[in-house]
Amino acid sequence: MKYQSQKVARLYFMAAIGLFTGQILFGLILGLQYVIGDFLFPAVPFNVARMVHTNLLIVWLLFGFMGAAYYLVPEEAERELFSPKLAVALFWIFLVAGALTILGYLLVPYSGLARLTGNDLLPTMGREFLEQPTITKLGIVVVALGFLYNIGMTILSGRKTVINMVLLTGLVGLAVLFLFAFYNPDNLVKDKYYWWWVVHLWVEGVWELILGSILAFVLVKVTGVDREVIEKWLYVIIAMTLITGIIGTGHHYYWIGTPGYWQWLGSVFSALEPIPFFMMTVFAFNMINKRRLNHPNKAAVLWAEGTAVMAFLGAGVWGFMHTLAPVNYYTHGTQITAAHGHMAFYGAYAMIVLTIISYAWPILRGEKAANQRAQVLEMWSFWLMTVSMVFITLFLTGAGVLQTWLQRYTDDPLPFMVVQEKIAPFYWMREAAGVVFLIGLLVYLYAFVARGKPAEDATAA
């Protein structure tokens, strides 16, 4: 660790892992509710559990991104963080606000939460992924602005590397696009149209800039390949991401009341969306093959490779599978979407956060890499989680194909609930794969214990 203020990242990483664990537990509850319909009903109905599952995902990824930024920005800018105190203060504000929101979801009926937080004044609640009370959304804006100020001042007054500039554009885009969460007209079509400006332009736009810059940073560090080479590929890859991804938003505008031309625009541009992911995979493996040093942190290298592959499979291949309008006409809003969502989020975003944590955590403890045993455990957890995510995706795909066939495609389509019962075996298998994922996560957590005392404390003693 070169700069003292990088230490702030530890707090953020700890919170991220904690919330990740919560997300997985609620995922298992949801999976069970798919097959045992009255599980925990009416105490934790499905909609509440799902809201907790998805909101925890978003929040832990944001914690991860912020931690990553606090770690890598000072090192890239070659100066201390502008204000470590602000970073710590924002951490606690964000954590407490997040925890209160989750508790609100679990303890108060959602309509009560809406009343309690004055949703009538500026109604923004009750839209998928944006379920947070308006006051929480305002809190997110405040935290984001403070965070951007802190990171921006550090970057602009230090060395301006490509990695830092791309990260900064990604973070600014993240904050700006979130403002559309406050636009909620009575007109459902307009509501949906701009809702995607947050959701799609986040995950298939600015978040990919963040992903790209974190991956590039880790690759620079673990391969020793010339920064110049990595940076220009970073530029080209994210350029391709935006060129295909911005108009690619059109694949969400097929059936929500928007004009028909979006079917052509969305199909063509999103057919090309796998290209930047493919380039990222080729790029990551190329850099690792051309490495000029053997970094002792093998686990971090594995996570980086895993991100490159799984992002391509989940976002690229599984996205392409149902992105063409004539296909999407039948698969829209089925378990195919769920399959794609699971692997894409895990492969692209969960794994990149786990990559930077894997790389940075030992350094924050004053060692270059974890001990052999801890690394082996971490790599076991990598394989357990990744392989079970592949199976979760495959089972959901099976469920989705069958659902599409029975409910949408045959001459004599069956009602939703009848179909759900027919595809229950797939849900059971998905739940089993989910349990294996949890075991992988427990191994991951145990790997932290197996690291032993930090080197810093050891020298101090």
Binding site: R50, Y110, L188, W255, R408, F416
Partner: protein, 144 residues
């Protein structure tokens, strides 16, 4: 190497290309907003429908159902439920009203939301309005 590959050109492509497509996207958004009145059934948005949308949101219906295919995949699509229920707002209201507070043993069940008559009517009108949005003939059939 037979190719020249410079960082400055890569940067130009990133900024130039992004800007180009941002403009294109804004232009398309402008056109979409101009076209929407013919598609989005806005004439039907009464205060009742607006109230219904609020009730829909404040009970987090999207947490189980899909609406025009977006949402959770745990419960049936509701974009066309008005038509599926025989073009009847009464049937929708009756269904919501009749949900057992403690669920159905072993099965998925919609919670009892204890909506007022006014709220019930609002939700039903909101779903009627939604079913009349021109969605390029989606969903493929009445089952949603």
């Amino acid at each position: 190497m037979s190719e020249v590959f410079t960082k400055s050109m890569a940067r130009n492509i990133y900024y130039g290309g992004s800007l180009f497509f941002v403009f294109l996207f804004l232009a398309l958004t402008f056109d979409t907003m101009k076209t929407l009145p013919q598609q989005d059934n806005r004439a039907a948005i009464t205060p009742q429908v607006a109230l219904g949308k609020r009730v829909w949101e404040e009970n987090n219906c999207i947490g189980c159902h899909t609406l025009l295919g977006e949402g959770a995949y745990f419960a049936p699509e509701l974009g066309n439920v008005y038509k599926r229920f025989g073009n009847s707002t009464e049937a929708i209201k009756a269904f919501i009203r009749s949900r057992p507070a403690n669920g159905i043993p072993g099965r998925r069940s919609m919670p009892q939301f204890n909506l007022s008559e006014e709220e019930l009517e609002g939700v039903a009108q909101f779903l009627k309005y939604t079913s009349e949005i021109k969605t390029q003939n989606w969903p493929p059939n009445i089952q949603g």
